[in-house]
């Protein structure tokens, strides 16, 4: 019977498709259902990947105009926005087809359609043509991901008022872009359009940007972004928006209450976060318990309260990150296959792909203080790193936090060029319980940016050599 599967996975994003791949590797039959029509989920279609394509091309454009003259290169630069978008579309197309190939390779049936859990062990899929197919599933994995969080009183039309999805596909460069939300999505997309010529203002409810990041990093990060031309209105909330004469009039007021003020914009990006997406799945009927924030409740093995139904990724608790979903997918399927799958939530990196990048793993200084852990700090500025000098990217620093007693690395926070790649070493160190000394005594190639990580590690015990 073709419609019987060991695992039926609802959702074809990084959580879902990696679950399908792992299932195939472990000899389980599986189906992976996604309603979008292309696989890869938010990440590949309207998230990580297209945004990185635009971040890359817009950075090159910005560099060509601003940096090249300082480096002895004369050019005339002209923006071809449709060409830039075409690159993005090409990349997304190649990668989504890559996912479909991987599903096929691992003998997982890729099904396009809307899935609903009819009963434990039964999944109904409504195809684009309205036909309904019922799958028998020994295990159901909910990997439906998340959706844009709505802003009360504001309707996203993906025209003038856009979510991240719309902001990745604007037809022209808006003169004024107002970004609601100072998190990584708002800052990345704000950066894209700032580089392409928009005046960008970020309105954030909290008194800081990038909540969750180490304070010291966040402060310096904001300074650098301000220097690049992004304006910030912190401790401010958006209470409404009007359209007037082809422009938007955005009404804001202090977060603590007070006098209202209006801001004009041509496009407004709502990037205040994401919420778990489980609508239409029939979870209430199946009896799957959700928490107050609408997340599927699971135990540490990704089991929900209903036997045979599992959940992973953005639709359950934890940071909404593609690689977190990926790790959970592997662990969840391993558990289903009777193996021991675990995810170490203390060692999941997070990256903001602006220029400079921000990357972090482990605990922030504030978290350590709150937990009463005695720690030591090692810090190293990229201005003292030779490679950073040669590539004219001296903004930022590496900050390493280690237990004062055991020297075990507890958190690493990097603001600087290539931070997203540099954090890998720190993640491995934390995963393996390494001490700052272990990193400090490990050879690092010269001249590389990675030396800054080592120098910061040395700094923890006070033997930084290059500063």
């Amino acid at each position: 019977m073709p419609d019987q599967f060991d695992v039926v996975i609802i959702g074809g994003g990084p959580g879902g498709y990696n679950a399908a791949i792992r299932a195939g590797q472990l000899g389980l039959t599986s189906a992976c259902i996604d309603k979008r029509g292309t696989f890869g989920g938010t990440c590949l279609n309207v998230g990580c990947i297209p945004s990185k394509a635009l971040l890359y091309t817009s950075e090159l454009y910005d560099k060509a105009r601003v940096e090249f003259p300082k480096l002895g290169i004369k050019t005339t630069t002209e923006l071809d926005l449709p060409g830039m978008m075409a690159h993005k579309t090409k990349v997304v197309g190649e990668l989504t087809r890559g996912v479909e190939f991987l599903l096929k390779k691992n003998k997982s049936e890729a099904i396009v359609g809307e899935a609903r859990i009819a009963a434990p062990g039964k999944v109904e899929v409504k195809g684009k043509d309205g036909s309904v197919r019922t799958l028998d599933a020994k295990n159901i994995v909910i990997a439906t991901g998340s959706d844009v969080a709505p802003l009360p009183g504001v309707v996203i039309d993906e025209g003038m008022i856009v979510s991240s999805t719309g902001a990745l596909a604007l037809k022209s460069v808006p003169r004024r872009l107002l970004v609601v939300g100072g998190g990584y999505i708002g800052l990345e997309l704000g950066s894209v359009w700032r580089r392409l010529g928009s005046e960008v203002t970020v309105v954030e409810f909290l008194d800081r940007i990038t909540p969750g990041l180490d304070n010291e990093i966040a402060k310096q990060f904001q300074r650098i972004l301000s220097r690049q031309g992004i304006k910030f209105q912190l401790s401010t909330k958006v209470v409404g928006v009007d359209k007037k004469g082809g422009a938007l009039v955005v009404i804001v007021e202090p977060a603590a209450g007070g006098t209202r003020q209006t801001l004009e914009a041509d496009v407004m990006l709502v990037a205040i976060g994401r919420i778990p997406y489980t609508a239409g799945l029939g979870l209430d009927k199946a009896g799957v318990a959700l928490d107050k924030r609408g997340r599927v409740i699971t135990d540490a093995h990704f089991k929900t309260n209903v036997p045979g139904i599992w959940a992973l990724g953005d639709c359950r608790e934890g940071p909404m990150l593609a690689h977190k979903a990926e790790d959970e997918a592997v662990a969840c399927i391993e558990n289903i296959a009777g193996r021991a799958g675990h995810v170490n939530y203390d060692a999941i990196p997070a990256v903001v792909y602006t220029a400079p990048e921000v990357a972090s793993v482990g605990k922030t200084e504030e978290e350590l203080k709150a937990a009463g852990i005695v720690y030591k700090i090692g810090k190293f500025l990229f201005t003292a790193n030779p490679r950073a000098k040669t590539i004219a990217a001296t903004d930022g620093f590496v900050k390493m936090l280690a237990d004062a007693k055991t020297d075990r690395v507890l958190g690493v926070h990097i603001l600087g060029a290539e931070a997203g790649n540099l954090i890998a070493e720190a993640t491995l160190a934390i995963e393996f319980g390494a001490s700052s000394e272990d990193i400090a005594r490990t050879s690092h190639a010269h001249p590389t940016l990675s030396e800054a990580v080592r120098q910061a590690a040395m700094g923890v015990e006070g033997w930084t050599t290059q500063m």
Partner: protein
């Protein structure tokens, strides 16, 4: 097919060895001639290569055990595919070795030999404190010992050590507290101990001293250093001069180059000079053969070569055997004066020392000269005092006036 791994023949006088280290674990893939384990003998370490391609099937003798030539160490499953990396737990104790070492779990030296990779900080702490990571419970991934685990274990160890008491009551045997560490003597150390004591028990040893003004040799060296090195490709050191000076003196005083064997005196009409070299494992004495027939450059080259290979543990057994006279240079460590112990059954050993500028009287004037004390320890059973003193005087004269060597006077 299973092929035994046996202790190979290691030279005429060597019959037993200690298994110092297995490089492979049971189940590991091995290629023919790939080193499987290291044996430590009285004089050298020998690597035992795999007799065939395949997998290491079994290890029958554990590290630290004493084995004899021909003992079966383990077996290779020929042609079998082995693990690229076997689990760290492998190696179970099997066939009884010739001599079972006492368990010494605290011995850092032993535990550091295990194959499991140790984190850099842990390695440092282990080396500095002598605390073996193997004796510490690891809290890391797969039981890995972390820096914090080591620090905590050190703290525990320190806490267990009783606080210094003003006057410990000395009654009965000392408690075997954690204040001590028991490490098995290496074979080399054991041999050194045995040989030295044997030497002292046999020969009637005493030492005579003299001093030598090194300014002439130093001037000669300074003048010809570059052209010598250019021509011969070796540095012109002092050792060659000393070897030459000694041989000239040995020729004049053959008793110093002889040995007692039973009721006979064996005179040797060849001059094989042992040159003591200090290595990490201990003192060893490679021998420069027929040194009387060698030029200065050949002697220097031989000594340099021995020094390098001694540090790498690559000296062959036969290179350490025999010898008719020994030169020992304590000066490299700064010794001003010492009484070397004879390298049995030889009858003489010259001790070189540090060259130090000292005021001396020359033609009733006080001059500052680079001076070195010379010591000759000798076996008084065979060598008379007059001979010993004359020997040293000849060495002194030859060095203070190197032209004598040329003229053979």
């Amino acid at each position: 097919m299973s092929i035994d791994i046996k202790v190979p023949a290691m030279g005429e006088s060597v019959t037993e060895a200690t298994v110092s280290r297995w490089f492979k674990k049971e189940g590991d893939a091995v290629a023919r001639d790939e080193p499987l384990l290291e044996l430590e003998t009285d004089k050298v370490t020998v690597e035992v290569p795999a007799p065939a391609d395949g997998a290491l099937q079994s290890i029958s003798v554990q590290e630290g055990a004493t084995v004899q030539v021909g003992t079966i160490l383990g077996a290779i499953a020929e042609g079998k595919t082995g693990n690229a990396s076997a689990p760290a737990s492998a190696a179970k104790p099997a066939a009884k070795p010739v001599e079972t070492p006492k368990p010494a779990p605290q011995a850092a030296a032993q535990a550091l030999k295990t194959d499991a990779p140790v984190m850099p900080s842990v390695r440092r702490i282990a080396e500095e404190s002598g605390l073996s990571p193997a004796a510490v419970n690891g809290s890391g991934k797969e039981g890995r010992v972390l820096k914090g685990d080591m620090l905590a274990a050190l703290e525990t160890r320190a806490a267990q050590r009783p606080a210094p008491q003003p006057a410990p009551v000395l009654s009965g045997p000392r408690p075997q507290a954690e204040r001590e560490e028991r490490v098995k003597m290496s074979r080399l150390r054991k041999t050194i101990a045995l040989r030295l004591k044997e030497s002292q028990n046999t020969a009637a040893q005493l030492t005579t001293f003299n001093e030598v003004d090194m300014s002439h040799v130093m001037a000669l060296r300074a003048e010809y250093k570059e052209s010598f090195e250019k021509k011969h490709g070796v540095r012109l050191g002092f050792m060659g001069f000393f070897v030459k000076a000694c041989i000239a003196a040995l020729k004049e005083l053959p008793n110093v180059n002889a040995e007692i064997e039973g009721d006979d005196i064996v005179y040797k009409n060849y001059y094989d000079i042992g040159v003591a070299v200090s290595t990490e494992r201990g003192l060893i004495v490679p021998v420069v053969r027929d040194a009387d027939k060698l030029g200065l450059a050949q002697i220097e080259a031989a000594i340099t070569d021995y020094g390098t290979r001694a540090r790498d543990g690559k000296l062959k057994l036969e290179e350490l055997q025999g010898g008719t006279f020994t030169i020992s240079n304590g000066g490299v460590f700064g010794s001003l004066m010492s009484t070397p112990i004879l390298n049995s059954p030889q009858s003489g050993i010259l001790g070189m020392h540090k060259i130090q500028p000292r005021p001396i009287a020359i033609d009733d004037k006080v001059m500052i000269r680079p001076m070195m004390y010379l010591a000759l320890s000798y076996d008084h059973r065979l060598v008379d005092g007059r001979e010993a003193v004359t020997f040293l005087v000849r060495v002194k004269e030859n060095l203070e006036d190197p032209q004598r060597l040329l003229l053979d006077i």
